[in-house]
Subunit: 360 residues, 5 copies
Amino acid sequence: MKTTPRKPRLYRKRAKKAGLAPGTLVYVGEVQAEPVRITYIDYDEKQLQETQASKIEECFEFKETPTVSWINIDGLHDVPLIEKLGEHYELHPLMLEDVLSTVQRPKFEDYEQYVFVVLKMLRYNEERGGIDSEQVSLVLGPNVVISFQERIGDVFQPIRDRLRHAKGRIRKMGADYLAYALLDSIVDSYFAILEKLGERIEGMEDELVENPTEDTLQRIYLLKREMISLRRSIWPLREVISGFHRSESELVKETTDLYLRDVYDHTIQVIDTVEGFRDTASGMLDTYLSSVSNKMNNVMKVLPIIATIFIPLTFVAGIYGMNFEHMPELKWRYGYAAVWLIMITVFVAMIVHFKRKRWL
Amino acid sequence: MKTTPRKPRLYRKRAKKAGLAPGTLVYVGEVQAEPVRITYIDYDEKQLQETQASKIEECFEFKETPTVSWINIDGLHDVPLIEKLGEHYELHPLMLEDVLSTVQRPKFEDYEQYVFVVLKMLRYNEERGGIDSEQVSLVLGPNVVISFQERIGDVFQPIRDRLRHAKGRIRKMGADYLAYALLDSIVDSYFAILEKLGERIEGMEDELVENPTEDTLQRIYLLKREMISLRRSIWPLREVISGFHRSESELVKETTDLYLRDVYDHTIQVIDTVEGFRDTASGMLDTYLSSVSNKMNNVMKVLPIIATIFIPLTFVAGIYGMNFEHMPELKWRYGYAAVWLIMITVFVAMIVHFKRKRWL
Amino acid sequence: MKTTPRKPRLYRKRAKKAGLAPGTLVYVGEVQAEPVRITYIDYDEKQLQETQASKIEECFEFKETPTVSWINIDGLHDVPLIEKLGEHYELHPLMLEDVLSTVQRPKFEDYEQYVFVVLKMLRYNEERGGIDSEQVSLVLGPNVVISFQERIGDVFQPIRDRLRHAKGRIRKMGADYLAYALLDSIVDSYFAILEKLGERIEGMEDELVENPTEDTLQRIYLLKREMISLRRSIWPLREVISGFHRSESELVKETTDLYLRDVYDHTIQVIDTVEGFRDTASGMLDTYLSSVSNKMNNVMKVLPIIATIFIPLTFVAGIYGMNFEHMPELKWRYGYAAVWLIMITVFVAMIVHFKRKRWL
Amino acid sequence: MKTTPRKPRLYRKRAKKAGLAPGTLVYVGEVQAEPVRITYIDYDEKQLQETQASKIEECFEFKETPTVSWINIDGLHDVPLIEKLGEHYELHPLMLEDVLSTVQRPKFEDYEQYVFVVLKMLRYNEERGGIDSEQVSLVLGPNVVISFQERIGDVFQPIRDRLRHAKGRIRKMGADYLAYALLDSIVDSYFAILEKLGERIEGMEDELVENPTEDTLQRIYLLKREMISLRRSIWPLREVISGFHRSESELVKETTDLYLRDVYDHTIQVIDTVEGFRDTASGMLDTYLSSVSNKMNNVMKVLPIIATIFIPLTFVAGIYGMNFEHMPELKWRYGYAAVWLIMITVFVAMIVHFKRKRWL
Amino acid sequence: MKTTPRKPRLYRKRAKKAGLAPGTLVYVGEVQAEPVRITYIDYDEKQLQETQASKIEECFEFKETPTVSWINIDGLHDVPLIEKLGEHYELHPLMLEDVLSTVQRPKFEDYEQYVFVVLKMLRYNEERGGIDSEQVSLVLGPNVVISFQERIGDVFQPIRDRLRHAKGRIRKMGADYLAYALLDSIVDSYFAILEKLGERIEGMEDELVENPTEDTLQRIYLLKREMISLRRSIWPLREVISGFHRSESELVKETTDLYLRDVYDHTIQVIDTVEGFRDTASGMLDTYLSSVSNKMNNVMKVLPIIATIFIPLTFVAGIYGMNFEHMPELKWRYGYAAVWLIMITVFVAMIVHFKRKRWL
């Protein structure tokens, strides 16, 4: 029996927030041991500056500069830090509340001076054989992108590389293109997850045909459960990206629109694939059930056949085991042989009958 | 066997109303023993007055004042009282009819001078392990909010505290913000319910794997039933809140709009979670059924195997229990030993065969 | 076994109409023995006149008067009568065709000079334990409402009383309010049906848990069938009432609009409840099936256990029933006791094993 | 075993068309032995001329006349004939292609000078107990209606009669009313089919309760299959008729609009009924399955009970069939009677136990 | 046992693209051994030139000519070649990225100077009994159509023939008509696939009735799986073609619009058929399961009957096999005959009882 992977949580607590005034900043996730890491990259077409800030105040100067700045915050447990950032950049309290509420449903909101996107960064956790989810919030303002993550570690490395080495058009475009690039890399990373899931499903399909066990059922159930939670991360994305795409905010330039349409297409493709997986998983459940019942039927069928053959024969033997004084057959010379003859005849007739009925 | 919690009522009576003229005020709920409790809070940014009124007339003066007034009625069984209030504040008879008809579906209505919202306040009843539902009606007028509840006890305590201690922006904003805050605290309280349900589901999932009993089935069924009734309280909320949000009533100021959007998001999240629970509950039913059938199969499989092995052997024994006079084997010295040999051979062959077929 | 109530007809004949010119008046229902009954109430705020007419022509004078007239026709089998009425009031032939075609789907139509509504009046038939359906057509014209019913007996009595005693606002309002009141009383009467159905479902639920029989299944099936036919009467109502509500006919005054919105809400609530019942009925089917299978499993499980225990023991007894001459055990003094010992040991070991596996 | 009716074809070939230029006229149906029959009726309010034409050219003169002409073509296998007609009346090649492609989905198209409708004429084939489908195409032009049918024989006879005898308003109205009348008579004929199906379903329901056989299952399956194909003919009709109704073509006069709305209502009613049948058929499948399993359970339950009772008794008999020399009971005078006593006691105890558990 | 056809891949890898800048050209498919084949056809109404180009540069001159050019690329593994083509014709990098990403979902995009369509060309692979899919991208520009295919071999041969022999209107119309013709031939080829699938389904239906085996189940499951993947290719087509049809691009002339509407109809028909197949396949699964269970029931039923009959008889024989000294019956002269009589009576009674209960 393989180790059944841990189930994804069905519901993540946010109840400690209940009753607080809206806009009150409370971090609902697990508190990280490490301090919050602040990094920023400030660039234009000609030059780039990349620093790990020790204090949030270091990032404040970028508000006014014409260069594009990307401020990335890894860790949300230092609420005062985020409050300070919010105050300086004049972010709406409800926006910050959503940043900290890491059980947020993916969403897009347009706060005139800012555009705000919440979505889930997923990672396939090989160890426990499931999907880990982390909330990422992106704030796009004039010449600035602020990204908030729950933990250190992300899928943005290739973008940093492209920025550093001025690859592609990224350094030539504005903050909106950067925001797009971040979105794109998150959606792209979903494909890797789908691939893993696809492999897992195909593995289970083989197992189903070859040797379905009770454990297989548990794992199909787990897969369906994971699919439910995956869908909840991915479905709203459709709206989010199309909201971004269709938003009439002046922060999003027309040249970026084409790219957003592309991410939108990828999102649809991801959703499509997940739906396909769901159908397949349902099919697998059906197969499992009928495969188990088939196996059971095979056992159930063969055994009674044997019983059926031998019970009448045993009856015949029982007859001549009776102790009546007057049983003429017992004295007959060929009685014993005759009984054998009868029994063999019955036996053969039954086998032939069962064969003909295809029960054997 | 655990006590099966009481089922939620499938249908709450309202038939005593049939045939009455529309706008006739009839209270369809249970009559409370305690008298109706009237409390009001009257405030502006600088001062706040909070009183428990003994007569409804005490609340009438607020109609004209520029301060914001929140009149809260706990208990709907005193129809004349509600009629008087309605007359003074010029509330439409149909609106009052809905207030008293506590089997109302959540809804939003715009009566020009007033905006009217009906929704359900839910509470998890630990004792009977189910959800209790109470109807709350909110009337938002110029500088006044009137809330009607079926019973004393609600989820508005934090709002009262915020008002008293002038926490957050609530004292600075108008009646529309107060109405929003009430809505928000009701929707927020749903999250606590979902958490309870989530825990219950996870508990049942463990039970399912470890030791599914007939009682488990009853409880899954009950859960599904509770989900049906939960959905009926929550689904219409989407429309209600978006109706409020999109309403062009002059009673709702633009600054409050952003907050309503936020409640709307929470509502979607609640609905999403309930749907996720429903999928999970369906999956649990499947698991339960196949788990029970698996267990049954295990019993059914092992037993016939034993029968199958011993029936042919008993037949052999039966043969040599026959009393024919001419049975040469009986006289053979090694007859008995030979029979044992045959029987042991058959036994071993069968065991090997079954093992190979994986029936053992 | 209780008497299974009669099934609602799946399909009511209307084929005798096929091939006729549109607008040809043919009554497709059962012909009543009693003659058609014509009653009219003519009223304004100050006075009211109520008469049972012997000839349809008596109703013709109302066409021109400024008072509101309600002409009610009980029975549709007198086609010429209806033709005459139609001609005098200039009703469109297609409208009259729909009145007579009592298998009509509920619908709303706006014929400029008239507004036309078809819907179903339902009644719970205690005797056969099912729902009876009767088609009611309402024609709203300037200062006149004409209602057509299939049979004598309706749910309009309270409205007649309100008219007679000038209760509520009904005598002060126009014909549109009267039409609304008729609609409202029909929709209100659905709640009584739902209550009956709710009770029936709850009764069946108890039966399901306590003692499910084959008859229960039949009754669940019947209930689902009734639900299908109920839905067909009720679903289109949503459109009908919202069509009425949104219609821009000058016949419907603005003051009545608010009341129509109220009926609309009731309709939604009825639909909602029916959907809830449907979900519950499906759940009941699942419960029934697994309850029956559980019961079966209990029988199936205990019996083979007994067989399994005794078959090997019988085999042992069979061994020593053989008649070989050389069977040393038979001569051994304690042979018999030893066999008992073996058999008791096997017996106890099996019981313990089964207990441990929870098969007992 | 009744003869299982022939299944409707799942897919009708149209592949021979693949690769041809669009607008290429190819008839994909079965070639009829009889020649194509051309009939036309030319009429206005005062006179009517009805002829069976031997050559298609006879119909050409009607193009210019102010009288209304109805050209009906029975049989589509004479492609050049249809080509000639198309050329003279300037019908678009794609329209003609659709006429000949008899596997067309019902559709409505507006080609400015012409309005084009394709739909299915259904007939209940009593002989094979299924529904036959024939494609009918209607072209409505200025003062002309051209109808194409696959075979001789249709549901238009009553319309011809009404034309001939100038019954109703048909002779006074234009070509659009004629087109409507044809549509109406096709939709009307669906009701007869539904009636047949309804009867068949009700018959099967009785059979289900009284004596479900394996054949019943086959017939439920066939019914569902027929429903699938029926839906494919009927569902698109909704769009077709509403397309016709809403079309802003000048060919459709306002007076005809009211009639089209009426057909539309009938279509909705047909669709509604089919959906109701589908639900019922699904319910029947469930009932069948649980009825069969019930019956099986009854067999399965009684038999093991007998086995369970007699196996222990046989064991007891086996004990005293052993041949040990020292078996004191055998010598005891009342041994035999005692054994009988034990066996009867066990027997009665078991029966009582089973009765109490309701297994008997 | 027939060879089970290979399953279609659930998920095709595209992960190697993750992290690259958008617009980076990477071919994600299998690299073909053969070099990329470039062919072009350049034509107007009067003349046509058809060449297989050895270098992509040969196609560059067509950009400016007023004749219509169709450039067809078979094979996508030569990325620089495609890059060069893209540069010369000024195709957007995202468009080229989609061309190379052969796991693209069908889509339509309007890039002002170009209109871009991606779709799937399907082929029924007789050998492995499944559907092969190949991505085709079409770029429609002013007077030019560029088509990209993954492999040599396509369904465009009839179009080439029509071009060469100036059949139909294709040589007289512009590039938009050519693009339409390519789309049309792809959609047309789906009908052949549907026909194959239809035949396969009908074959399986016969098999289901006659002799369902475990292999049948595997094949139904495989069919459902194939349907899932077929739907994913076909469903988006609806949007694609309607996007093309409704696009306001100047590249699509009005005369072509009518033709696009025609393809759209075909697409709907394909989708309809696939949905019908899906319903049928689900029905087949139900039939299979109940057919298997029926067969099983037949085995299960007959066998216990035999056991039930003989077990009591064997008990009777066991009684008189006991060795009590005092068993008066044993000494009675007609004891043996009496036992036979009893046994035959019991036997006959049981057979009659079973017959009456219809268990035999």
